[in-house]
């Protein structure tokens, strides 16, 4: 046997068995290295998401179930709702500190903040930018508060202590008028947006231009942070942000059509380049005669079936809300699809944020229903998204 091997080795041109074994070991080493590299590569994409995803799934498990929502809806009044929420540590810490609506928004903002802190580096920019959502919400609240003459204490009740403007919040809340708000904002990216929108507000009395300008700034720049996806995770984040952008553009167009506004009226508020609905398509839609024209103009896109269904409801009720709910549901469905498709990457984070948004939205609906007279639990249940 040994002689056979020696003969074979010599016939292959090796001077000795040792030289042959040396080559065998070298080949094994190369194979080993290739196996290690090929096997480890997919893990490199999974590893950064394991910690954030476990945290996010821990929080997702605490999102209220349908049964819990039914229990909250059955609450006799606002105080009972508060008592119910006090039973959950995530809400309890804010319930006694702030008004109920502010406590709910703060809890939601805290989750956005957590994700921006723990998400892996390649998606951190986008989630950090998403935190500006709270700056924008705060600015809208502050501008409205100053316009209707609320004092600092009342204004403070409207702002959420998250976002990038937290160090300026005191000055913004204490401002006596819009000019003081503008000077408090000096050096931030919001100064020019508010400066441009205020004259329109003063002229028309409509806050929509200001809100639309701020929303446009947020979404346009958010889309920019994910323009060039580095990997599957950032590509999925882009599709989620993209669906938000498209939904926002479509809401603006549909609302404009209901209000009879023209192309030039709404053009400044459109997010210039949508995701699936590109600039040229947006222009076509903006030039449509009416709501039905917008819906038929979307044929061939994934928004057509969603809006066709809502069109029936719109025809019956005349309420634009049907389209808004349909578009919001589409964004939630996109998030759900991503979370199922990409369980080891960015999926759970996107899915969680979307579910949390929905939870807070529903809690606010319940709070409003409890606060206003004449809403039965059945009616509130019907209003939930």
């Amino acid at each position: 046997m040994v002689e056979d091997i020696a003969t074979l080795v010599t016939s292959l041109g090796f001077p000795s068995t040792e030289a042959f074994l040396g080559l065998v070991i070298l080949v094994l080493l190369i194979i080993g290295a290739v196996v290690v590299i090929v096997t480890i590569r997919p893990v490199q994409n999974i590893f950064p998401y394991t910690y954030p995803n476990a945290r996010v799934r821990g929080r997702a498990g605490k999102i209220f179930t349908e049964k819990q929502f039914s229990e909250i809806i059955e609450a006799g009044n606002i105080d009972e709702v508060k008592n119910y929420l006090r039973g959950f540590p995530d809400y309890a810490k804010y319930i006694d500190q702030y008004s109920l609506e502010k406590a709910l928004d703060t809890q939601l903002a805290e989750n956005y903040d957590l994700i921006a802190r723990i998400t892996p580096a390649n998606s951190r920019d986008a989630f950090k930018f998403l935190l500006k959502k709270w700056d924008i919400q705060n600015l809208k609240s502050i501008v409205i508060a100053k316009k209707v003459g609320l004092n600092a204490e009342e204004t403070l009740e409207l702002v959420v202590p998250f976002g990038e403007l937290t160090d300026k919040l005191d000055a913004l809340v204490d401002a006596n008028d819009i000019n003081e708000v503008l000077s408090a904002l000096e050096g931030t990216e919001y100064t020019s947006i508010i400066e441009d929108a205020i004259p329109i507000y003063e002229e028309t009395g409509m806050l929509l231009p200001l809100e639309a300008s701020l929303d446009k700034y947020l979404l346009e720049n958010l889309l920019r942070t994910v323009t060039t996806p580095e990997d599957d995770n950032t590509a999925l984040l882009k599709s989620y942000v993209g669906s938000m952008v498209d939904a926002t553009n479509l809401k603006i167009i549909l609302r404009a059509k209901v209000d009879g506004l023209k192309f030039e009226d709404i053009d400044p508020y459109m997010i210039s380049d949508g995701y699936q609905i590109r600039e040229w398509k947006l222009k076509d839609l903006m030039e449509a005669e009416d709501v039905a024209g917008v819906v038929s103009g979307l044929e061939g896109t994934e928004y057509a079936p969603v809006l066709v269904e809502a069109m029936t409801q719109y025809t019956e009720t005349g309420s634009i809300g049907a389209f808004e709910i349909a578009l919001d549901n589409h964004v939630s469905e996109t998030a759900k699809r991503i979370s199922l498709k990409n369980q080891f990457g960015i999926g759970p984070m996107i899915g969680f944020l979307s579910k949390k948004e929905k939870e807070i939205k529903n809690l606010k609906i319940i709070v409003r229903g409890k606060r206003e007279e004449g809403f039965t639990p059945a009616m509130i249940k019907e209003m939930l998204v």
């Binding site: 040994v2 068995t17 074994l21 070991i25 094994l28 995803n53 476990a54 799934r57 821990g58 997702a60």
Partner: protein, 160 residues
């Protein structure tokens, strides 16, 4: 310097491959599981014990690799046995069997463990099912371990 026969030196490489690759897979797997468990414990302190269990599961591959490496060393290098080059190659085969099987199995188990930890922190009732799913990638390491033992026994390295 002690003279070591070429076959015995090859068996030593086999021992290195066994624990090296199995330990690599186990380490990566355990790292993934531990990262998930830390996240879970950060959200729910009661997850500590369950997190430890899931994190410990990908340890087994390293144990299999360690056992094969010890056996190879005990029956060759430490026994002062001069192995033929052919038997040395069999020893490398045994080491590679558990080494590569442990690499894949350990990483797979780590990913499953991390995902299970996420499921359990989301829904505590998922614990038993999570353990079952996490245990499944163990089988590949067991195959590798069995083949390594069989190679050593039938080639005469062990008990020969």
């Amino acid at each position: 310097m002690v003279e070591v026969a070429l076959g015995t030196a090859l068996a030593a490489i086999g021992a290195g491959v066994a624990i090296g690759f199995a330990g690599l897979g186990s380490g990566i797997g355990q790292g993934i599981a531990a990262a998930g468990s830390v996240g879970a414990v950060a959200e729910d302190e009661e997850m500590f014990a369950r997190g430890i269990i899931f994190t410990a599961l990908p340890e087994t591959q390293a144990i299999y690799g360690f056992l094969i490496a010890i056996l190879l060393m005990v029956f060759t290098v430490m026994a002062g046995k001069a192995l033929s080059p052919a038997l040395g190659l069999v020893a490398i085969g045994a080491g590679a069997a558990i080494g590569f099987a442990g690499l894949g199995s350990g990483m797979g188990q780590g990913i499953a463990a991390s995902s299970s930890v996420g499921s359990v922190v989301e829904d505590p009732d998922m614990f038993a099912r999570g353990i079952i799913f996490t245990a499944l990638p163990e089988t590949q390491a067991i195959y590798g371990f069995l083949i390594a033992i069989l190679l050593m026994v039938f080639a005469g390295i062990m008990g020969g």
